[in-house]
Subunit: 685 residues, 2 copies
């Protein structure tokens, strides 16, 4: 008879349901938890309007009775918190954790032996989080294999959704899409939503450890189920009781920027487990990197090898001269000369190429006050990296570096590990095996006081709070797509990132490309002609500067070649001046994928910086400067699009000017098509 109409089906038996409600400190958000008809559900309202319709909770196991039916609320506990904690580095120094808590225990005695599970909810003024907590109990002995988490997010089919697809080969590196939620098959988190009455939501998770990553899978139109990434041969999660799941987070705001001005994800992570992480200093760096992406140089050790002693010295000199603390060098180690893609066991993390004098360069860098950032490309061969991990990190330390940039270039399901029988297993980059791998690396790095910047990572879930040596990562479409992507990042990309990927945490986007017409230069390598002229950053020069404020990374790259910066030292001054660590960050205004304006106060200088950027549409914006200290004057150094600027036809048209302003002023500025503005506010003494 085929699926019948839903209307004809709803014949729910009346049941004596218990209902518990949790509200946010300001009372605007309410979570309602029920055990209606033997099923655990939650729903969320905002200002009295439902934003998450009743949605299931529960999980299923392979060899044990799970939590799905016959569930009844058997206990609950409430708590409240209002504390403030300090970050060693971050988007803001002080983070307030104010929330109300409700822990609901569901017991089930029918359909198998007695057992119970607790769902702990926390309601903040900017959203909610909840997680599952399973205690040790007689019915849940031994290894537990989670085959399905039943958590649903019923956002409504007409809710607008911004997302990247999750069931794709290129991991998280997709152009963001927008669609009615009812038409989205599968999506990574964070996914961002706007309900039909204009409330903004973002769904994500916090503290992803000892579990697999969650994506959103359309169950019925507008109702997503948590889809945990499975092991290649087995269940979705291998665990045992007691365990807790990661937190499922739903940020809620009446303006889009409210999603950015929320610390839920950090607050739901555990406190710093590492103690003093003063070695993990935020800073700016340059590197031998973009030259390979534009085919001037190679990772491989042929005559175009980028990572040579001479070239690295040139970068060290440039860094020292212009105040950069780090120099990244990719292609320094053996393994790049063959077919390394999907073949990561070729890489050595201890053997430099002969033309790279690692010891000499370390000394040279130290003498100039610069640190080398050591690159470890694993090509997602976990076993090869895990075997060499200690020796590789020891070498980093031996040459006096505190930083490693890792890479996991491979297709989404191709992270390789080899078991003790020698059998190769291929896992997803966001599977539990990979989550475990990343923690192994982070902990080994922490033991050696090394900070990590992970590329092709699992998405950030706020673990930098607990492990502050995990400073930055990739996890979205970065600048390199502008070198060779098909298509390159569209003009909306940076305005999209702020409201989506960046809700997860820092993103090493590697901004600051000044050569906006690379095709006009002759090719360096005869075997590699310049590619498509469309392959360039689709922004104005001023917008490149703006991204240093809108995109947060405590390790912030100036990604272009030194010679390209030397041609435009006037604009480069902003990159030299801008900080990478913040006392405060405020999202001022914007709209998802259209435009964003951020203000940040430098942690060291206490100077303020402002960045605003727009998509393809030119835009006149007026921003209140009320974030500035009242009554104080500031010299505003402004880098804005010139009157004829346009990302495609005239990207270099920039006006650099200085004005004196106060917090009472409004700052009105024109943003060109895919343009932007960057401002440094220097307090007048």
């Amino acid at each position: 008879m085929a699926a019948i109409s839903w209307a004809a089906m709803s014949v729910a038996a009346p049941a004596q349901a218990e209902t518990l409600t949790l509200t946010s400190p300001d009372g605007r958000i309410a979570v309602t938890v029920k055990d209606d008809a033997g099923q655990a559900t939650y729903a969320v309202s905002f200002n009295g309007k439902e934003v998450i319709a009743p949605s299931k909770l529960g999980m299923l196991f392979a060899e044990h009775h799970g939590f799905e039916r016959g569930m009844a609320i058997t206990g609950s506990a409430r708590a409240a918190n209002d504390t403030t904690w300090e970050q060693p580095w971050g988007e803001r120094r002080l983070v307030r954790d104010q929330h109300n808590e409700l822990a609901v225990t569901f017991g089930t005695e029918t359909d198998g032996p007695a057992r119970n599970i607790t769902v702990r909810f926390r309601a903040f003024d900017t959203g909610i989080g909840f997680r599952y907590e399973l205690t040790a109990q007689p019915a849940l002995q031994g290894d537990i294999a989670i085959v399905e988490e039943l958590t649903q997010f019923s956002v409504g089919d007409k809710t607008t959704m911004w997302y990247t697809p999750s069931d794709e080969f290129n991991r998280n590196e997709y152009i963001y899409r927008v669609a009615p939620a009812g038409e989205v098959d599968d999506a990574h988190t964070p996914s961002t939503f706007r309900t039909t009455d204009g409330t903004y939501l973002a769904i994500h998770e916090a503290a992803l450890v000892n579990y697999s990553s969650m994506s959103l899978d359309q169950l019925r139109p507008g109702n997503f189920q948590a889809n945990l990434r499975n092991w290649s041969g087995g269940p979705k999660v291998k665990t045992s009781a007691p365990f807790t799941s990661p937190w499922r987070t739903i940020q809620i705001a009446d303006k889009a920027v409210g999603l950015i001005n929320s610390d839920i994800v950090l607050n739901l992570n555990e406190p710093n487990a590492l103690g003093d992480v003063s070695y993990a200093k935020p800073g700016k760096y340059i590197g031998i990197w973009w030259a390979m992406h534009i085919n001037d140089r190679t990772w491989a050790s042929n005559k175009y090898h980028g990572a040579t002693t001479a070239e690295t010295k040139r970068y060290i000199d440039f860094a020292a001269k212009h105040g950069f603390s780090g120099v990244l060098v990719e292609g320094w180690n053996k393994g790049w000369d063959g077919d390394w893609f999907n073949n990561g066991d070729v890489f050595s993390f201890t053997e430099p190429y002969p033309d790279y004098d690692i010891k000499g360069l370390s000394k040279y860098a130290a003498s100039k006050g610069v640190e080398l950032i050591v690159h470890h490309e694993t090509s997602a061969n976990l076993t090869n990296y895990e075997k060499q991990l200690e020796a590789g990190l020891d070498l980093v330390k031996a040459i006096g570096s505190n930083y490693v940039k890792t890479g996991y270039v491979s297709d989404a399901g191709d992270a390789v590990w080899i078991d003790d029988k020698g059998i190769r297993h291929y896992e997803y980059y966001d599977s539990q095996r990979m989550i475990d791998h990343h923690m192994t690396v982070i902990k080994a790095a922490a033991e050696r006081q090394i900070a990590m910047d992970t590329h092709e990572p699992v998405k950030d879930t706020g673990l930098r709070r607990t492990f502050p040596n995990w400073m930055s990562r990739e996890g979205a479409r970065g600048m390199e797509f502008n070198a060779w992507g098909t298509p390159p990042n569209p003009p909306s990309h940076e305005a999209m990132l702020s409201f989506t990927a960046l809700l997860a945490g820092p993103f090493d986007y590697t901004p600051g490309i000044f050569d906006l017409r690379p095709n006009e230069r002759p090719p360096v390598r005869p075997d590699m002609p310049r590619g498509d002229p469309k392959n360039r950053p689709q922004t104005t020069l001023a917008k490149q500067l703006a991204t240093y404020v809108t995109i947060y990374s405590p390790l912030q790259m100036a990604a272009d070649l030194p010679e390209n910066y030397e041609k435009r030292m006037d604009a480069f001054q902003f990159i030299k001046d801008v900080e990478a660590d913040w006392e405060q960050s405020i999202a001022l205004d914007g709209e998802v994928g259209q435009w964003i304006a951020m203000a940040r106060q430098g942690r060291k200088s206490k100077e303020w910086f402002l960045g605003a950027l727009t998509d393809e549409s030119p835009r006149d914006v007026s921003l209140a400067l009320s974030f500035l200290e009242p009554g104080r004057k500031y010299r505003a150094q402004i880098y804005r699009d010139g009157p004829h600027a346009h990302w495609d036809y005239n990207p270099y048209d920039i006006v650099i000017e200085e004005k004196v302003v106060t917090g009472g002023d409004s700052f009105a500025v024109h943003l060109a098509a895919s343009g932007g503005v960057a401002v440094r506010f220097i307090p007048v003494k």
Copy 2:
């Protein structure tokens, strides 16, 4: 460094590769098999042009070394076949199986112990098939868990693709989509393709037993990997050596109708394993079914219960009067009164409702020469059905019936089974557990000489050859979506089905709705007002008749209410006359999703029938009648769209006329917007 450009990556080491080639009997199709760089690949060309670019072969196991790298061709064997076999019923009585065969054995001795796998290719004039064969061998002892089949289908990203999405809740019941293959995430098979130079392809599988269903998952743009459906808690397939996989089939044709005129899928199934299946007689039936979908009646046993003794008698009388061999009755058995969706353990397959006199009705039906088709809705609760299977089928036989229509209404991943510890497991409707379930049912039915019509089934893969009691099934969007679907089936639907879903096998579409404006009638049930006026078949009346020829099912329903047929006995005459079993079937002409013209010769009467139908576009078609016996005259009884017919504004405008024709004639006819034509050709003695 993020994913880098593919161009920069291809540094394949030169290797001494072996190449084997297999061609079709007519020489137009060539399969090339290689072991290039330790990888097993195949490629397919048609008329000298590549239609499948080199694509990987192989599979990975959980606990054993798999077949992926270090593979070398270690042996091969060739064969050829040209035989003709007879179907007990079918689209054609005689099927020719003419093919060339190449079995290639790949051995691997690096990366684990010595082991080998054979890939058997068959090349027909209309496409190719291949399967994996694993022999018992020392390195592959014990249970084998397949975690990935590495088979790729590299069709090219610009190839046009018609498909339904596979990672969705509603199983196979989606409106077909069309997109460049490079933009398709996941797709069911059969999927249909048109390459940029106009060659048509269809990818599917044959003989799906002891395995899980294959869908197509985009690996890189235009390159799909076989995606086997996984067990909820485990791998994709649980097996042990020796085993063979289902056949992967690629149909190839230079015209779209060439895909239909191909018997590859049947030919790649094993011969009839059941012997005499004369009990499985093709025929036409009516039933108590549409009345529930349009909310006149209910499955539940309230005052609007459809399956009452009196109502069933009325249907039996109508069937007997008009020559229908079967009457389907849904809602006869206990279980429909509560919340049965996702709760299938409520169903009894032996207990009729008190208002349904099963014994009396059986006798009454027998006295009228009509058979009751017994309905078993399982709501995908496998354990509940398996427990009652023998008793349920025994009852069918006891009342003198030979037919069961099963139903598996549930969400895609919600097929329930309960293990011996009482733990509930939820599997996909096309997982190995479900494949096994269907075989259990088919075999139990065969033991009792019962024929099956499975709704919400796994897709057909030609198993009707081996188990000819598995007569029909659903597996695509059926007529009921026109009662309540959002949206209903579009005007292109029937012209799409012929080139897509119907390539798999018979489809119990349940055609023949004559009441094309159900909303103009007052509602029968006060609690159920008529729904959206858009909920109606979006066709003309003549197109409803045409579907009896274009859509093949050996059990073909006249789905509307008797009283609706009684209003239009002139058009109904075609449904009375048309056969459901065929001596021959010929797809004459058409284009995917636009229009189709089919001719079929009745197996009993030897009369020919022609059906042609179109999508939203009106169309003037001219069809050569060369399928008719040369030199013979036929009375052509024509049911065509009237001059003012239009599916939306004037669906009932039909012209019924008779002409005398011969095989030398062309038949020119106008098809209205979503219109059609049906013709019966009666040989003049």
